[in-house]
C-alpha cells in the first residue's frame, strides 16, 4: 500500500486543533469532513472542548482509543511540532499541516518546519503542507473533504495538484460551475515533504486518475530527476496526460549574466523546456487548464491532424477552421463516398465539403447522420461539432445523438454548444457522458489541437543514442589546473582544449608572449593566421582593436603582435596582458551558438541557436535540460525558427546537422561531468556542410562552485 493512501483514502482521521468556533479553520475543516459524508471515522482533538459539532473530543491524539491513519493539524508552528511528535508516537500514517506561519514567514517558522520535516522523515511518514488548503477525494468509497472549502466536487477522472491554497477554492467554484468532476484534489503549500513529483507518481498509478492538472508556483526538484520520471508517466506504459499552469516572471537575474546564454536563460525559458521535455502541456489561463483537461479526460486522441467540422452556422465554422489551423490541425478532404452520402441527408443549400454546414434549420437527424458519415471517412481523424441555438435546433436531441455515436467511436469528438442557457440541458448530457463540450468553437478547436499534440508526443520518433567517447581523464586535469590557479573563467586556449576532450574540433593555436614567438607559432600553424589578445580583463577583444585576421606573412605576424599589445594597453592600461593568441584560420560554415547556464535548483540548461545577430536580436534559441541525448538534441536543432538555414535554403547544401547534434550531446555530458561550470558560450561554432563536421571558433567558460 502506498503511503499516500493514508492521506487520500484514510479510514480514520484526527483533526488536531479542531475548534468549536464557527468560522475558524479548525472548526470549518472538521465540519467539512463531517458534513462531506466521510466514510471512515473522525476524531476531533482539542484539550479544551468536550465535543465539537456533537462529536466527542479528545485532549490529545495519543488518547484516541483507535488507530489513526491521517492527522489534520491546524495549530501554530510550535504546537504543530508537538502534535506531529505525538502523531508519530501514536503511529499515525500521514500528516497534513494546514496552518501557515512556517517557511513562508522565514525565521523561527522556517526552523520549525525543518524540524517537523526531519521528525516525519525519521519516522517514515508522509507530510503534506504546511500552509495548504487540505485534501479532497470525492470518490463515493471515501467521500473525504478535508479542506477549507465547504464545496465537495463531484467525482471524476481528473486529479489536481495545487501549490497555492487560495487558488484551490476558486478552482473548486469554477469546476462546480462547469460541472467538472475530480478524482483527487490536493493543495501542497510549502511542500516540506510531499511535492508534485510524489503526487504525479501516485496519480499515475491511481486507476481513478486519467488526467492530472497542476498549478505550480515553482518546482523544487532538479530538472533531470523530474523530466526523467515524468516523461515516462506521460508517454511510457499506460500514459497519463499532465497539464500545468505555471506563472514565471522572466525578468529577474538576467541582467547580471556574463554570457549570452546566461542572459537568455530566464526562468520562463527553463520551465518551458522542463514541461516540453516531460511531455506536460503548459497553459497560461485556468480556462485553458479546464478546457484541455476535459478533452484529455475523454481518453480519445486523433491518429492524425485531419479534422472534420460540422456546424449549423457559417460564422462559427469559420472561427473553428481558423483556430484549428492555428492549433496545428488541418481540415480533412472528404472522400467522394462521404460527399454523396451527405447528399442523402442534407438539403441542397448545405455545404457538403469541410466545414460541413448543415444549415440553421437543422434538427437532430441532420447532425446525427452527418456526424456518423464524416466520422467513418478514413481521411477524418476527429470531428468538431458546432451547434448554435436557432429556431429548429434540438440541443438535447442532438446531444443524445452525439453521445450515442461517441460511445462507440475511436476517433475524438469535441463539441461547441454555443450559448449558456438555451443549450444547457444538452451541454449537461454531453458532460455527464464525457464528451468534451465548450461554449465557443475556438476553445473546442484549441482542445482538439492539444489532443493532436498528445498524439505527436506519444508517437514521437526515438532514434538510438550516439556512441560518444570522451577523454574524461585529460578533461579532469585541464579543469583541475584551472581551479588550482584560482581562475573563475577559462578563455579560448584552455577552453578549446577542454572541448577537444569531448570530441569538438578546435583550431590549432598557441599563446605567443613575444614577437618572435608569434612568428614562430604562425610558421608552425601555417598562414593565414588569426591573432588576438589574451587577458582576463579584456573580454570584448574587438572593441579593444585587439583582434587581427588574415595574417599571411611572418612580417605581418610580427607587426600584428606589436600592434595588438599596444592597442590592448591603450584600451585598458590596468589589464594584465598574457600575450597574443596565434590561431589557425577557421574554415567557414554556418554560425551557431552553443551555450550552458546553470541554475542551482534545476541544474544545467543547454542552449542552441543561430549565432551573431540571430541570437542578439531575434533571440531564436532553444533550451533543454538533462536528460539530453540524441533525440532531445535533434528536436532542439529543429526547434529554432531559423532551422531552414541549417537544412539549406535557396538550394544551399545542408549543414552537418548530425555533427551538431553530437556536439550538443557531448556538451551536455561535459557539464554533467563538471558541474562547476556555471556558464559557457561557444560562439560561434561553425557548422560545415554535411559530412564535414563543425569547428569551435571561440569559447568562454565561467566557473562557480556549487552552493551548499
Amino acid at each position: 500500500m502506498d503511503k499516500l493512501d493514508a492521506i487520500f483514502a484514510p479510514e480514520s482521521i484526527a483533526v488536531i486543533g479542531a475548534s468549536t468556533q464557527k468560522g475558524k479553520v479548525g472548526h470549518d475543516i472538521f465540519a467539512n469532513i463531517l458534513f462531506g459524508g466521510f466514510k471512515g471515522t473522525i476524531y476531533p482533538v482539542n484539550p479544551k472542548a468536550k465535543s465539537i459539532i456533537g462529536v466527542k473530543c479528545y485532549t490529545s491524539v495519543t488518547n484516541i482509543p483507535d488507530p489513526i491513519d491521517l492527522a489534520m493539524v491546524i495549530l501554530p508552528p510550535k504546537l504543530a511540532l508537538n502534535a506531529v511528535k505525538e502523531c508519530i508516537a501514536k503511529g499515525v500514517k500521514g500528516v497534513v499541516i494546514v496552518s501557515a506561519g512556517f517557511k513562508e514567514v522565514r525565521g523561527e517558522g522556517a526552523e520549525i518546519e525543518e524540524q517537523i520535516k526531519a521528525v516525519c522523515r525519521a519516522a517514515n511518514i508522509r507530510l503534506v503542507g504546511p500552509n495548504c488548503l487540505g485534501v479532497i477525494n470525492p470518490s463515493p468509497d471515501v467521500s473525504l473533504n478535508a479542506s477549507f472549502s465547504s464545496r465537495m466536487p463531484t467525482a471524476g477522472n481528473v486529479s489536481f495538484i495545487s501549490q497555492s491554497g487560495a487558488l484551490c477554492t476558486a478552482v473548486l467554484d469554477f469546476a462546480a460551475d462547469k460541472g467538472f468532476g475530480f478524482s483527487k484534489f490536493i493543495s501542497i503549500g510549502n511542500k516540506a515533504d510531499v511535492d508534485e513529483l510524489d503526487l504525479l507518481r501516485y496519480y499515475h498509478k491511481d486507476p481513478n486518475t486519467d488526467v492530472v492538472m497542476i498549478y505550480m508556483e515553482e518546482l523544487s526538484r532538479g530538472a533531470e530527476e523530474f523530466i526523467s520520471e515524468v516523461r515516462e508517466m506521460t508517454s511510457g506504459v499506460n500514459p497519463t496526460p499532465v497539464i500545468a499552469i505555471k506563472s514565471g516572471t522572466s525578468v529577474a537575474g538576467a541582467a547580471a549574466a556574463a554570457s549570452h546564454t546566461g542572459a537568455l536563460a530566464g526562468s520562463d525559458a527553463i520551465y518551458d523546456s522542463i514541461f516540453f521535455q516531460s511531455g506536460i502541456v503548459r497553459c497560461h489561463t485556468v480556462n485553458e487548464l479546464f478546457d484541455y483537461a476535459q478533452a484529455l479526460a475523454a481518453k480519445k486522441i486523433p491518429n492524425g491532424d485531419k479534422i472534420a467540422i460540422v456546424t449549423n452556422a457559417g460564422g462559427p465554422g469559420i472561427i473553428a477552421t481558423d483556430m484549428s489551423e492555428n492549433s496545428g490541425l488541418s481540415l480533412a478532404r472528404f472522400s467522394d463516398e462521404t460527399i454523396s452520402e451527405l447528399h442523402k441527408y442534407l438539403p441542397p443549400t448545405a455545404n457538403f465539403h469541410n466545414p460541413v454546414d448543415v444549415i440553421g434549420d437543422a434538427a437532430r437527424d441532420r447532425y446525427e447522420n452527418t456526424l456518423a458519415t464524416v466520422l467513418s471517412d478514413p481521411g477524418v481523424d476527429g470531428v468538431l461539432i458546432i451547434l448554435t441555438p436557432q429556431s429548429m435546433t434540438d440541443a438535447m436531441g442532438t446531444a443524445e445523438a452525439i453521445v450515442n455515436i461517441a460511445r462507440n467511436a475511436i476517433k475524438p469528438i469535441v463539441c461547441s454548444f454555443m450559448g449558456v442557457v438555451d443549450v444547457s440541458d444538452g451541454v449537461k448530457l454531453l458532460q455527464r457522458n464525457h464528451v468534451p463540450v465548450y461554449q465557443f468553437p475556438e476553445s473546442a478547436a484549441r482542445a482538439m489541437g492539444v489532443l493532436y499534440r498528445s498524439k505527436q508526443w506519444l508517437s514521437r520518433k526515438i532514434l538510438p543514442e550516439y556512441a560518444v567517447v570522451h577523454d574524461v581523464e585529460r578533461a579532469g586535469r585541464i579543469v583541475q589546473d584551472c581551479m588550482d590557479r584560482g581562475q573563475t573563467t577559462m578563455g579560448e586556449l584552455d577552453g578549446s582544449e577542454l572541448l577537444a576532450c569531448y570530441g569538438f574540433k578546435t583550431l590549432d593555436m598557441a599563446l605567443a608572449k613575444t614577437r618572435a614567438e608569434a612568428i614562430q607559432i604562425a610558421g608552425r600553424i601555417g598562414y593565414p593566421v588569426v591573432m588576438k589578445i589574451v587577458s582576463e580583463q579584456i573580454l570584448h577583444k574587438s572593441d579593444a582593436k585587439a583582434v587581427m585576421v588574415g595574417i599571411v606573412t611572418p612580417d605581418e605576424a610580427g607587426e600584428a603582435f606589436d600592434k595588438i599589445m599596444a592597442n590592448a594597453e591603450a584600451y585598458n592600461s590596468m589589464a594584465k596582458l598574457d600575450g597574443v593568441l596565434v590561431q589557425e584560420s577557421a574554415k567557414k560554415g554556418r554560425e551557431v551558438i552553443l551555450g550552458v547556464s546553470r541554475d542551482d535548483v534545476f541544474g544545467h540548461a543547454v542552449m542552441f541557436g543561430l549565432g551573431g545577430i540571430f541570437v542578439e536580436v531575434y533571440k531564436d534559441v532553444v533550451f533543454r535540460m538533462a536528460p539530453m541525448g540524441r533525440n532531445v538534441a535533434r528536436r532542439m536543432v529543429k526547434g529554432i525558427k531559423g532551422y531552414p538555414l541549417l537544412a539549406g535554403v535557396r538550394g544551399e547544401a545542408p549543414a552537418d546537422i548530425e555533427a551538431l547534434e553530437k556536439n550538443l550531446v557531448s556538451l551536455r555530458a561535459m557539464v554533467t561531468d563538471y558541474p562547476v561550470i556555471k556558464e559557457l558560450d561557444i560562439n560561434p561554432l561553425f557548422v560545415h556542410e554535411a559530412g564535414e563536421g563543425t569547428t569551435v571558433a571561440d569559447v568562454i567558460i565561467k566557473f562557480e562552485p556549487l552552493k551548499k
Copy 2:
C-alpha cells in the same frame, strides 16, 4: 435625424411575414417585439391572418392606417422584393430583412438582393440584412427586441455589431450569464446596404454607446476609407474604443503569388494592419471580447504602465504579476510614504511591496485602506485587486469599499474575484457599478494591458508629414510605355526609372545588346560594375548563373557579357534574351525589402522588412494599408523585430531611417498613382548610414488591370 434611428429607435414597426405559427421566425420575431415591451406600436402584416397573438393583422403594409418607421421583413426573396417596394410606396424609413436565401446562396437569390438594394438606394432608405438576426435596443425608452432571440439583454453602454446571426444568440446568452448590458445590438448578415462602417459612424455619435464590439467575417470596404474614418473615431474628439473579433484564414492564395510580398500578404496580416491602423483592438476569443469591453466600458485608462496589485493570496498575485508583464505593464515601485502608510493597516506578515499581500485573513477594512493608499501613490497608474474566498473574506463588503473608492478615482481599478458562487454577490455589485471584475487574475491583468494600449493609442506621437515631390508626369510615361508594349512585368531597368521619379536613389545602368556595348557602357559608368541577364523568362538570375559582380576591366566586361548570355541560353534555351544589364556597383548598406501587394477589395498593402534570409526564414515583416504617411511609416519601421539592426547594435552607426521612411511614403504614393501595380518587390534596398540615404539594388514590378 440619422436614418439609422428608424432602425434602432422606431416609433412604429410593421412585421411583414408575421406568422400565427409558434416556432416560425415570422411568429417569434413578432412575439419577441411584443413581449419585449416595445414602447412604440407594432403592426403584423399577413394576408391570411386576422390577428397574431391578439394583435390586428394587415394584408399589406400599404393598408396600415398609420405611418411606419421600420419594416421587419420575413419572407422568401421574391416576396421580400415586392414587400420592400410596398414599403417604399408606404414611406417606411428603414427595412430589416431577416430571411436567408439571398446572396449567400448565389444565383437568383443574389440577383434579387441586388434589386432590393437598388430600389432602397433609389428611395434613399436604409436596409439591414438580408440573412440577419435583427436588431435590439434595450434602452428603457425604446425596449426593442426585433430579433430571433427571446432574450432581451439588460441596458448598458456597449454596442455590438455582428455579421453572423448565429453567433448573436450565443453572445446574448453569454452576456446574460455575465450580467453584461448592451446599448444597441445588431446583426448585419449579407450587408446589402448597412455595414460595419455605417454602424461605427452611428455608434460613435450615439451618446449611449461608450464601447463598440464587432464580430467580423470579412470587411467589404476599401481599407483606406475604413481606416481613415475609424482612426478618427477611436482617437479623435470624443473617442470610442472599438474591439473586434475577426477570423481569417491565412493560407489560401498565398502559393500563387509571384513576389515575396505577395506570398506574405495573407488576409490575416492585412486585417492585422487594418485593425492596428484603425486603433481597433483585435481579439481572438469571445471571452477576450467581453473582458476588454468590460474594462473599456468603465471609461478610465491609466496614464502610464505602472500598476499596483493588491491580493489576499500569493499564488494569484504571482499569476497577475506575470500576466501584467506579458501584457506590456510593469509593477509600480511604491513611495516610502505609501509603504509606511500600509504598515498602519496591515499585519507584520503582510507584503508591503508590490504586489501587496494583505494576507488570507483580510476582511473589508484591509482591502479598503490598502486600495486607497496605493491608489494615491503618484507612481501608480492603476490597481488590480485580487480576492480569493477564504474564511475571513468579506466579498460583499470589499466590493462595496471598492465601488466607493472607484466612484471618485481617476485611475482605473480592475478586480479579480476568484470563484463563481461564494463571491457572486460582490461580483454583481461590482458589475452594477461598472467596476471591471474577472474570474481569474490573468484576465484582469490582460484587460488592464488593453487599457494601457488604449492610452498609448490615444497619446501616440504625430509628426508633421514629409514634403515629398514626385515627377508624376515622367512616371506616367514610363508606366504607359510599359502598358503599350503589353508588358505584365517591369524589370530592374524600367522599374528603377519609375522609382527614381518617386525620389528613390537608383543605380546608373544600361542595357547592352552586344559585347562592344557592354564594354562601352561599363566605361561610361566606371568600374567596378555588375552585369546580369535581362529576360522576362529568367526571374531567378542567380540560379541561371547569369549575374556577375566585381567586374573591373573592359576585358572582364566583355568576357562577362559572353558568359552571361551563354549561361542564360544553357539555363533556358526557350528564353528570349534582351541583353545584359551593366550596372554601377551599389554602395553597401543594411539590406531591407520594400514591397507592395494589391487586394481587389482592400487596395494596396505596403510591406517592409529586413531583406535576404530575414524575410525568407523569419518572415519579420510589417504590412500597412493606406492612408500611410510619415507616422505610419515610422511605426512600421519600428514594428519589426529586427529594428535594432537598423538602429545600430554592437556600437554600429544607425542606418538612415529617415530616408527609409521617406521611401515608404513615396512608394505608397506611387501605387496610389498607379493602381495597376499588382505586386512589387524592392529587394534589396540598401539603407546606408544616417544621412547617406538608400539605394535600390533590385526591383521587380507586376501589373494587373483592376477588376470591373
